[in-house]
């Protein structure tokens, strides 16, 4: 393709693949824990970090990471103490983070031009230094998921059992929150604050629909994420559409397609069990 001759597009593809692989790797554990809204909440809270960076004159990436990690720990701390229902807690965190972010944005100068990029992603404007940062964060996240895989899996499936068996659940959860925060920071670059949750969750739902094992779902989700971002990137170029929303809509289309195919196949085999159905 002609567009592959341009450096900015190659950088966008590289960043897109990194985001597409990393986000679902973490998303698998979030979805299995029925905590997938966390990614959305952290993404919205990140707006506060971006605005803080601009106000304080610090690189927004640094303040975003700090704010998102702090928020992730706060959410986990409250969840552990069962002070609130988990989903309500995330809704409050999301609304609060977004509200604070908007107020800070209104007080900062020169943010207007970048706002669309932060809200909906800006893969096509990725600079070489951005790409290095994304690659570094992605490597950290993938390494953490591989190293902590056993603990993350055990906790995702049965946290109480994991505690009773003597696994360091508190350490696993803390590490996972850091990894989730890193992932959200990466996702924001690809699809923006408003759509980051989708990149974390949609490939996972696609993978869960076509896999029997957790390990299979994990790697299928990562591959699906990469394909979705690359596909969305090319579609957005060909149809002259914004990249982030195109990636998300493509993902939803694939999810609907996979769910329908799965239903047809299962019905054909006579194995549709409504109570055990997933993602559809």
């Amino acid at each position: 393709m002609e567009i592959w001759q341009y450096g900015f597009f190659l950088r966008a593809m590289a960043a897109g693949v990194l985001c597409g692989v990393t986000c679902p790797l973490v998303g698998v554990f979030l979805v299995a824990r029925r905590f997938s809204f966390l990614a959305d909440a952290l993404a919205h809270i990140s707006l506060t970090g971006v605005a803080l960076g601009l106000i304080l004159g610090v690189a927004p990436g640094v303040t975003t990471l700090a704010v998102v990690v702090a928020a992730a720990f706060a959410v986990e701390w409250l969840r552990q103490r069962q002070r609130f229902f988990a989903d309500s807690l995330l809704a409050v965190a999301m609304a609060g983070g977004l509200a604070l972010g908007v107020i800070l944005v209104s007080k900062s100068r020169g943010f207007g031009a970048d706002l669309t990029g932060y809200l909906f992603g800006s893969l096509l404007t990725v600079r070489p230094e951005d790409l290095y940062l994304i690659a570094g964060l992605a490597a950290l996240t993938v390494a953490a998921v591989i190293l902590l895989y056993k603990g993350l899996f055990a906790v995702a499936f049965d946290e109480e059992y994991a505690r009773a068996a003597g696994l360091s659940v508190t350490v696993i959860n803390a590490a996972f929150m850091v990894v989730a925060a890193l992932t959200v920071a990466i996702a924001i670059r690809a699809v923006g604050v408003l759509l980051a949750g989708a990149l974390v969750v949609i490939p996972v739902l696609v993978a869960a629909g076509v896999n029997r094992s957790f390990g299979g779902a994990l790697w299928t989700a990562a591959a699906t994420g990469a394909v979705l971002v690359l596909g969305g990137l090319h579609l957005s170029y060909l149809l002259d559409l914004p990249t982030g929303p195109t990636v998300v809509l493509l993902g939803i289309g694939v999810l609907i397609g996979v769910t329908l195919c799965r239903r047809i196949v299962l019905r054909y085999r006579g194995k549709v069990v409504e109570a055990q159905d997933f993602g559809g």
């Binding site: 049965d158 009773a164 068996a165 029997r212 094992s213 997933f278």
Partner: protein
């Protein structure tokens, strides 16, 4: 043998090694006392049922033993070590309430059962051939070998329950704690389930402690019964428990256990027909 005595004397019958010992353990949620001065000893080879009405503290008692809850008073010792310093938690297998509810996310029977080995392997370790053999053996004991690659979500309730027990057995525990693990099984499944526990206790010398409402089923199988209602009301052989009116005292109403000794008005407290 087991003793549930108020002052926790160490003397008494039974020479087997004590695996779990609770001395004057109390626990409460806020101002609500759930357990009061519990003294209990579980020795190697015991097959024990903990009975009691809803809210009696049965699950709480297990959670205190497992270190999931910290007692307000008293001491818990596991394998002779104070619970706070006990690091080999995998020596105690646990089958939680509703253990078969593994959620809707795909995972195979093998993957779920293998989590039983994770505490032994540690954070960084990989499952060795020995670990894999232990998982395979646990699945074989539960008759699940042929289902190893099937997703747990596709199994029946009874099969999922067996997966939960296989997960606990894969760790190679010396004690197995089960919290109403037969809940949701039909009569045949329940019979097979208790038969399996009996076999594990007899053939593998696995110490079994189970919390249950199913007085009829366990009274035919277990060696000891503990009647709990915040305090321990009775400990001893099931026959004695059924014959001396302790069950009626425990539930606060006349109790009839199908197929066993009767008490006064022969009423059923357990709705399941056999």
């Amino acid at each position: 043998m087991l003793r549930g005595l108020r002052h926790c004397p160490r003397e008494g019958s039974g020479t087997a090694e004590p695996l779990i010992r609770l001395e004057g353990v109390s626990f409460g949620f806020g101002r609500n006392a759930v357990l009061e001065e519990i003294c209990l000893e579980v020795r190697r080879g015991d097959f024990m049922a903990i009975l009691g009405p809803n809210g009696a503290g049965k699950t709480t008692l297990l959670k205190v033993v497992l270190g999931l809850l910290t007692p307000a008073a008293g001491q818990v010792s596991l394998f002779g070590v104070p619970a706070g310093r006990f690091r080999e938690r995998y020596r105690i297998g646990y089958v939680p309430q509703k253990a078969g509810a593994f959620g809707a996310f795909p995972a195979t029977v093998w993957e779920v059962a293998a989590t039983g080995r994770f505490a032994r392997v540690g954070f960084w370790g990989r499952l060795s051939k020995q670990d894999e053999a232990a998982v395979r053996e646990a699945l074989a004991v539960l008759g699940l070998e042929h289902l190893a690659c099937r997703p747990v979500q596709a199994l029946s309730g009874g099969q999922r329950q067996r997966v939960a027990i296989a997960r606990a057995l894969a760790a190679g525990p010396e004690v197995l704690l089960l919290d109403e693990a037969a809940e949701g099984l039909d009569a045949a499944g329940e019979e097979a389930f208790y038969g399996l526990l009996e076999r594990l206790n007899r053939e593998r010398d696995l110490t079994v402690v189970l919390v249950t409402h199913d007085i009829g089923a366990v009274s035919r199988r277990v060696k000891q019964v503990v009647c709990l209602n915040r305090r321990i009301i009775f400990t001893g052989p099931p026959q004695e428990c059924l014959e001396n009116g302790k069950l009626s005292a425990l539930y606060g109403m006349p109790v009839y256990v199908p197929g066993r000794g009767t008490e006064s008005r022969r009423r059923r407290i357990y709705s399941r027909e056999r």
